[in-house]
């Protein structure tokens, strides 16, 4: 390496001033010796020698301004090395600094984006498994369904454990973990201190090492303290490691508004987490989906954000009594087939949507109602197929409107079924305000059945 090149001090530096030579021709230098000082408008730095040798020539004089990066500034020859071997500087084989960044087909950027960037692989959702003929259906609450799902998976796999605040001795702040401590013991059902950031990170580390943690957040509101570990450590890990290290785990707990708990305890994080590649995001409504999807989440090799809802914990539904009821992640469920209008919702939004559907059907509107169940990967195909049939779409969610799930669906339907739309897509969402405490204001801030009906009337031009 006889040629010393003008170094770049930062990713953006293109040229600089050779402020000072610290060595002169004839000096012997070794690794780490300072050769020169370089100045830019921001900083001064030293150029160090990487090899041993003798300074045989100084190519750029002290005080020269505007020396371009990678210009040879001196020759340092090792013992026995001749200037002739300096002929092929390494820099020639290097890409220009401006080309080094990641977009491999940068030169094609002027062409259509599809030519420059390879298309994302298509996600294909599996459909629900066929249930055996005459299978017994058991009525249970969402709470019981979640509890059964965890108990069954804890029985099935000793690498599964659950940790969180009050999950063990207290039996769960919302009693989702009731009885688990008694059956599985304190090594696998673990009460944590109130340290979301710390125990979320700890669980991700345990997942790196091969365990399958279930992290319960008492509510997702408190997980904002831990969101760095969920996104930066868990979600991005597989990609950053080139496929080597993953975090097979579930983060779960109640999400969204409870009742009269005010702004800091009433937030819907569906859109937040669904934004993040690397995460799987599930938000079930029914008891059966809660059970089948939580079991799938625990078995998933990926980090899963599992968004429950406190108000739904006590609602009941029929759950098939089979040995191992696991539902496919990423598959929406058509809750009612219809042909006039499509309503898409998930989690608590399904309650408003279901009640609105009943009233609309009674009024003669043939509603198709879709429960997304999984928010990432989003089963947009089911939505688009429905819109192709109905031509009209209303989305319902409790979260805020801007950048919400409804906004995303609206955009994707516009891209995928624009010619089939007979009316603009309408979103029914939580209002664009922090959650108020007063009972009347809270009611106003949340979506309601009348708003869903009004939106359907608008897109079907009925009102």
């Amino acid at each position: 390496m006889p040629q010393i090149l003008m170094p770049a001090l930062s990713p953006t530096m293109e040229e600089g001033k050779l402020a000072k030579w610290v060595v002169k021709v004839g000096d012997k230098v070794k690794s780490g010796d300072v050769l020169a000082e370089i100045e830019t408008d921001k900083a001064t730095m030293e150029v160090e020698s990487v090899d041993e040798g003798t300074v045989t020539e100084i190519l750029v004089a002290e005080g020269t301004e505007g020396v371009k990066v990678n210009t040879p500034i001196a020759l340092v020859l090792a013992e026995g090395e001749s200037a002739g071997s300096a002929a092929a500087p390494v820099a020639e084989t290097a890409p220009e600094p401006s080309e080094a960044p990641v977009v491999p087909a940068e030169k094609a950027a002027a062409a259509a984006p599809s030519a420059a960037v390879p298309a994302a692989p298509k996600f294909e959702a599996q459909s629900d498994p066929d249930l055996p003929e005459g299978v017994e259906m058991v009525e249970m609450t969402v709470r019981q369904a979640l509890n059964e799902a965890m108990a069954e998976e804890l029985r099935r796999d000793k690498d599964v454990f659950i940790m969180g605040e009050e999950v063990a001795e207290y039996q769960g702040a919302y009693k989702i973990t009731q009885g688990l401590l008694q059956e599985f013991g304190k090594d696998r059902v673990i009460d944590t201190p109130i340290t979301e950031h710390g125990f979320a990170g700890l669980a991700v580390g345990a997942a790196f090492a091969g365990l399958k943690p279930i992290v319960e957040f008492m509510t997702w509101n408190f997980a904002m303290q831990a969101i760095d570990q969920i996104i930066n450590s868990a979600a991005k890990q597989l990609y950053m490691s080139g496929g080597q290290v993953t975090a097979p785990m579930v983060f779960r707990g109640p999400n969204g508004a409870a009742a009269r708990v005010g702004a800091q305890h009433s937030q819907d994080y569906s859109a937040w987490y669904s934004h993040v590649p690397g995460l799987t995001v599930i938000a079930p409504y029914s008891a059966a989906d809660a059970k089948g999807l939580l079991k799938a989440a625990i078995r998933s090799p990926n980090p899963v954000v599992f968004l429950e809802n406190e108000i739904l914990y006590g609602s009941t539904g029929l759950v098939p009594k089979v040995d191992d009821f696991v539902l496919p992640i990423g598959k929406a469920r058509i809750a009612r087939k219809g042909s006039d209008v499509t309503i898409v919702s998930f989690s608590m939004g399904m309650r408003y949507a279901t009640q609105a559907t009943e009233k609309l059907v009674a009024a003669g509107v043939d509603v198709e109602l879709i429960d997304l169940r999984t928010l990432r990967p989003l089963d947009i195909d089911t939505v688009i197929e429905s819109v192709k049939k109905t031509g009209r779409l209303v989305t319902v969610e409790e979260g805020w409107p801007q950048g919400g799930i409804g906004s995303e669906i609206s955009a994707r339907v516009m891209e995928g079924a624009f010619d089939h739309l007979d009316a603009p897509v309408m979103r029914v969402t939580g209002k664009d305000v922090p959650m108020p405490y007063a009972a009347n204001l809270e009611k106003l801030a949340l979506p309601n059945v009348d708003e869903v009906i009004a939106a359907v009337n608008a897109v079907t031009y009925r009102s």
Binding site: M1, L5, P7, A8, L9, S10, P11, G32, K42, A43, M45, V47, V50, V69, N70, V90, T93, A94, P95, E96, A100, V102, P104, P118, A120, T192, P193, T195, H197, G198, F199, A200, G201, L202, A203, V204, G205, A206, F208, A209, G210, L211, Q229, S233, L238, Y239, M240, S241, G242, G243, Q244, V245, T246, P277, T280, A296, R299, S300, P301, N302
Partner: protein, 339 residues
């Protein structure tokens, strides 16, 4: 029963542990590999071959070398922040793979998708390579949790700097680690500057070995420029953790010769300060002097090692320069695992 943190004791500890010639040679070789590798990385950054952030470990080589010599390779897990090249080299990861990751090429340890701050190896039990300051303290505590849960007898070693030592999650982790007596050694690499902010300007108490005191976690302050002191303290700490007594804190008093990252001119400290460390405390020169003083190793012998190391680094640099960039199709792989 916790050992009282010995803030001043270590600095004046009269009984410097002795290394065999073999140990000195091993330490010399490992530290020199880091030094030469990092010098080359700095040079390649200057040539535009390495992009973004690049944090060099030059000056701190004795820390990771002494700790790793005292650990069980392939069994004990290690995790650190973004100043991670040295850790990987000492743990036995392929220098070609490390350098090619720095240049963002397909043969990089993360296929070029991680970069300088994000490399991992399940096989070597190295878990990064983490870019968020302090995150590795919690993650490392989780590695220790897994060790205890599975009973595999391993110890987790979590490195972080004096800057990260002020992050809240570090103390959340300390609390849980001691509460559950997890086998973790926290190595605080105190190089005196969190980017450009000196410890005096950032820390209410600058003796980081005491930071576990309120959790009853023993701590020691160690001369992190002397690989023998590092090794000796690491043996104590790892044994403590492995025997079920819980976490242990080692504060390594060390120094980075270069700026925080390549674009940092390090104006916040005096040239004299840097020169003093390099001339009087350099971890590699200490070992070199000891080996030569022993009489059995000659300048020629050390030169031979230097030549070997230089060949390894040159090979890594050549590979990292000529290896192709990842295929465009890699953009869409490794996002999630198909179940």
């Amino acid at each position: 029963m916790a050992r009282k943190a010995t803030a001043t004791q270590a600095k004046t500890q009269p009984n410097v542990p002795q290394f065999s010639e073999q140990q000195d040679l091993e330490a010399f070789r490992e530290m020199l590999l880091i030094r030469r590798f990092e010098e080359k990385a700095g040079q390649m950054y200057g040539m535009g071959l390495i992009g973004g952030f690049c944090h060099l470990y030059i000056g701190q080589e004795a820390v990771v070398t002494g700790i790793t010599m005292a650990s069980e390779k392939g069994k004990d897990s290690q995790i650190t922040g973004y100043r991670d090249h040295g850790h990987m080299l000492v743990m036995g990861l392929d220098p070609k793979g490390v350098m090619a990751e720095l240049t963002g090429r397909q043969g990089g340890l993360s296929k070029g998708k991680g970069g300088s701050m994000h490399m991992f190896s399940n096989e070597h039990r190295f878990y990064g390579g983490n870019g968020i300051v302090g995150a590795q303290a919690s993650l490392g505590t989780g590695l220790a949790f897994a060790a205890k849960y599975s009973g595999d007898g391993s110890v987790a070693i979590a490195y972080f700097g004096d800057g990260a030592a002020n992050q809240g999650q570090v103390y959340e982790s300390f609390n849980m680690a001691k509460l559950w007596n997890l086998p973790v050694v926290y190595v605080i690499e105190n190089n005196k500057y969190a980017m450009g902010t000196s410890i005096e300007r950032a820390a209410a108490t600058t003796d980081f070995s005491m930071r576990g005191a309120s959790f009853n976690i023993p701590g020691e302050q160690v001369d992190g420029m002397d690989v023998r002191m590092v090794y000796d303290a690491a043996q104590r700490a790892i044994e403590h953790a492995r025997s079920g007594k819980g976490p242990y804190i080692l504060e390594m008093l060390t120094y980075r010769y270069r700026g925080h990252s390549m674009s940092d001119p390090a104006k916040y400290r005096s040239k004299d300060e840097v020169t003093k460390y390099r001339q009087e405390r350099d971890p590699i020169e200490q070992v070199r002097a000891r080996l030569l003083a022993g009489g059995k190793i000659s300048e020629e012998d050390l030169k031979q090692i230097e030549t070997e190391i230089r060949a390894i680094v040159t090979e890594a640099a050549d590979f990292a320069t000529n290896d192709p960039e990842p295929a465009a199709s890699e953009l869409w792989t490794d996002i999630t695992i198909e179940a």
